[in-house]
């Protein structure tokens, strides 16, 4: 049997943490991981944030990011242990034998240099190609990755191409020096779902054609299933399960893997609309000050009490702007908002307190939505005090009730946000919104910053709270799986317009308009060969036209 390209044995990775008010201490974040990867194969690393996926991926380049140290074990690349070789040898390895594609291409490219210059830099630095050959190779890669104008796109600056194109440029950058192994670190996570599918297809094709091996790191099992041969499931720095894609997806052995596979299995039966909607958005047109471009064009939607209206669309479609108009942060240039039978004034400053109380908001980033210097008790207690004048014991009791409702229990009142996990933070934000006894809560991408299992918990909580408190949700999201799970009615937005609107069962049933079809078919499904099917289907359609 030939030696595998990458062999990892008992890899241990440690870091030093600095807890407030205590002495710094060393912790272990990866506890002895073993795996191997043969030339030309793709291994998917999957797990939630903090599972150590990226750390393990970077260890394949003998690199520890931000004070992370590789404390034990062996990493063999092409028959030598790179943890034991000196910095000089490691430098020969990086950018030549092993290359890296990061999550955010926008943050990784130097904005002051042209793309082509950066793409060929490593290949020239490592003396793999002459400048001329490297450029020719880069252009060939641009073409293979489906970038428009492969001849000239390299002469643009990073800000002159779109996010999806830049991510493909980064893949070209990684493939340019003809490496043996590429580490893909969440390459499509920051992209819209319709862009993701193209990038995914391009990456997959490039991997196949160049015969390179890859470590593909992601938290999205459906994505990794499309590109990998094997999958390794990680949890808190240890391997949970390792197997071929087919086995992991269709026959997971471990409980944790089963949970990952079956996530988003919430069933929600849509409710019928009532007579009087709690929120009516009438003919809303809005633009930002100083621009002459309408971000929202004649939006008309309705939301009924105790129900959920999902606003779906890509980034830039105007979803969040609609929320800003409803909350009064951005007065519309035309149209009106009718809330609970009365017309809302366009500007926040002129709204009566009761209107403000009945319309609450939950944000995407729970980190920045809570004042880091206030305790959970203060954060939840303030609306109680502010709207209802609760004080002392009565306030304490109500705070505890709310904490129980969000399933956090005792002992959280005196904690600061920094002492909570991501899911707990979002729960506190929900409690803060609930404290006001609202009729409507606007949820702006509330689960998109969370891991799938945690997000699932939040969605279930929101649904059960809706049942108990009869509160309506305006749910803004780009994630169609979330929409299927909780919506009663759906509005699909595209470039500032509602292109499709109605009850969930109608919106998600054919016949589709072109955009909704594109959006729906782009959501990765957890089955083998899904990517090929979709690409093939689209190719045939465009050939038919």
């Amino acid at each position: 049997m030939t030696e595998p390209l990458l062999k990892v044995r008992g890899l241990k990775i440690g870091a030093t943490i600095y807890p407030p008010g205590e002495k710094p201490r060393d912790i272990e974040i990866v506890h002895g991981v073993d795996f191997e990867l043969e030339a030309g194969k793709v291994l998917g690393l999957i797990g939630e944030s903090g599972a150590g996926k990226s750390t393990i991926g970077l260890a394949a380049m003998a690199y520890g990011r931000g004070g992370v140290e590789l404390t034990g074990g062996e990493v063999w690349v092409n028959g030598r242990d790179i943890l034991k070789s000196g910095l000089r040898d490691v430098r020969k390895l990086r950018g030549a034998e092993v290359t890296y594609v990061s999550q955010s291409a926008a943050a990784s490219f130097n904005p002051a240099k042209k793309i082509l210059e950066q793409v060929i830099e490593a290949a020239i630095f490592q003396n793999k190609f002459s400048k001329k050959d490297a450029e020719a190779r880069a252009i060939a890669l641009f073409a293979k990755l489906g970038l428009p104008d492969p001849e000239s796109i390299g002469n643009r600056y990073p800000h002159q191409v779109s996010g999806g194109q830049l991510q493909r440029c980064m893949t070209a950058l990684a493939l340019c020096p003809e490496p043996d192994l590429v580490v893909f670190d969440e390459p499509t996570t920051a992209l819209d779902v319709t862009t993701q599918i193209d990038v995914l297809a391009a990456i997959k094709e490039a991997i196949r054609d160049t015969g390179v091996a890859a470590l593909y790191i992601t938290h999205d099992l459906a994505v990794v299933a499309q590109v990998s041969d094997h999958i390794m499931v990680l949890q808190q720095g240890a391997m949970v399960e390792y197997g071929a894609v087919d086995q992991i997806i269709n026959n997971p052995q471990e409980a944790y893997t089963q949970a990952l596979v079956s996530v988003r299995s919430i069933k929600h039966i849509e409710k019928d609309p009532t007579d009087t909607p709690v929120l009516r958005v009438e003919n809303i047109t809005a633009r930002y000050r100083g621009t002459d471009f309408d971000v929202l064009k004649k939006i008309n939607v309705e939301l009924h009490p105790g129900q959920t209206l999902a606003i779906v669309g890509e980034s830039g479609s105007g979803k969040s702007t609609l929320a800003r108009v409803i909350t009064g942060l951005l007065p519309p240039s035309d149209g009106q908002i009718v809330f609970d039978g009365r017309k809302l004034t366009p500007d926040l400053a002129t709204r009566p307190l009761n209107d403000l109380r009945e319309l609450q908001m939950i944000y995407q980033m729970a980190d920045t939505a809570m004042n880091p210097r206030q305790t959970v008790g203060t954060i939840i207690g303030r609306p109680l005090e502010f709207y209802f004048g609760l004080k002392g014991k009565a306030k304490q009791r109500r705070i505890q009730e709310l904490l129980d409702e969000i399933e956090l229990g005792e002992g959280f009142q005196d904690r600061y946000p920094a002492e909570l996990s991501g899911g707990q933070k979002q729960r506190v934000c929900i409690a803060r919104a609930l404290a006001a006894n609202p009729k409507l809560i606007i949820c702006d991408e509330v689960t998109s910053a969370l891991d799938p299992l945690v997000a699932d918990g939040i969605l279930k909580l929101l649904l059960s709270l809706q049942k108990r408190e009869d509160v309506a949700y305006l749910f803004i999201t780009h994630d169609l799986a979330t929409v299927k799970a909780i919506a009663d009615s759906i509005a699909v937005m595209f470039q500032g317009e509602v292109v499709r609107y109605g009850p969930k069962s109608e919106v998600l049933a054919p016949p589709f308009d072109a955009y909704t079809d594109l959006l729906l078919s782009s959501v990765p499904e957890m089955k083998l060969g899904w990517l090929e099917e979709v690409i093939e289907h689209r190719r045939m359609e465009s050939a038919g036209n």
């Binding site: 009064g328 926040l348 307190l353 980033m365 920045t368 004042n371 880091p372 303030r382 609306p383 502010f386």
Partner: protein
């Protein structure tokens, strides 16, 4: 209060020593403030630890009383500049729009005039009393504090939690004092140490030029002025207040650095 770094301990020790000295000056000083007790510029002896000054007063006594005046004026001016500067700065940042523009442009106008010249002009018209000095220095310095406070607060007011407070319907007072201030504290505390030092230097400069604290009241800048002729004869009297100013500056900054470190790491809050 455990784990105080050595540098901060040294800083704390000297700062505390200077402030205690200022507070208990009449108890510590061996002679009266303007009492002539010896010959002109006597060298140090067991009777006069640092010697005597240009008209035969005990120099150590003058330094202790001078420190009292200097530290008092600098402290009062710093407190005034911080209260005024940061409240105005936060108010401008939270309000935005024309309120912000009006205050900011007015502050720019004041800042465009060199502060020493501005002070000299004002003091040549106004009577030179301690109160006037404090108010003048406080107002001039508040423009610098305003700039910093506004810059820090502008970053904070775009955070989601401030938006959440606005959506809740909170008044501007809550947004300034409960949402913004706690998160802006660290840079402000660091700046406060620095500003205090500048105030010490400023009052010393004014006194040296004869427009600050008036004799027979002592202050460090004044002592330098009174004894500067002595330097020609190799007499160190003018240098002692300079040493005092230098050590006070350094020790205050050591403390400010430590406070900054502590508050930034607190519960992972922003810096």
């Amino acid at each position: 209060m455990k784990n105080i770094p050595v540098a901060a301990l040294i800083g704390l020790f000297f700062t505390a020593a200077y402030f205690l000295m200022a507070l208990f000056a009449p108890l510590i000083a061996p002679y009266g403030m303007s009492e002539i007790v010896g010959d002109v510029w006597e060298p140090s002896s067991s009777q006069f630890l640092l010697g005597t000054d240009s008209i035969g007063r005990d120099l150590l006594t003058r330094l202790i009383y001078g420190g009292r005046t200097t530290i008092f004026i600098a402290t009062a001016a710093t407190i005034l500049s911080f209260t005024l500067g940061s409240v105005l700065g936060f108010f401008a940042a939270v309000s935005g729009g024309w309120v912000d523009q009006t205050i900011s442009r007015f502050v720019d106008l004041i800042m465009s005039i060199p502060s020493l010249i501005f002070a000299l002009v004002v003091l040549s018209v106004m009577p030179t009393t301690t109160t006037i000095l404090i108010i003048l220095m406080g107002l001039l310095d508040s423009t610098r504090v305003y700039r910093l406070a506004r810059a820090v607060a502008v970053d904070i007011t775009v955070m989601d939690y401030v938006e959440a407070a606005r959506l809740r319907g909170e008044k501007i007072g809550w947004i300034i004092f409960r949402e913004t201030l706690p998160n802006a504290l660290s840079p402000l505390v660091a700046e406060m140490g620095l500003r205090f030092i500048f105030a010490v230097l400023f009052i010393s400069t004014l006194s040296f030029l004869g427009l600050g604290v008036q004799p027979p009241l002592a202050d460090w800048g004044g002592i330098v002025k009174e004894n500067k002729e002595g330097i020609n004869y190799g007499i160190q009297a003018a240098l002692y207040p300079a040493y005092a100013i230098a050590t006070l500056c350094i020790s205050i900054n050591l403390v400010a650095d430590w406070v900054l470190n502590r508050t930034t790491s607190l519960k992972g809050g922003r810096g």
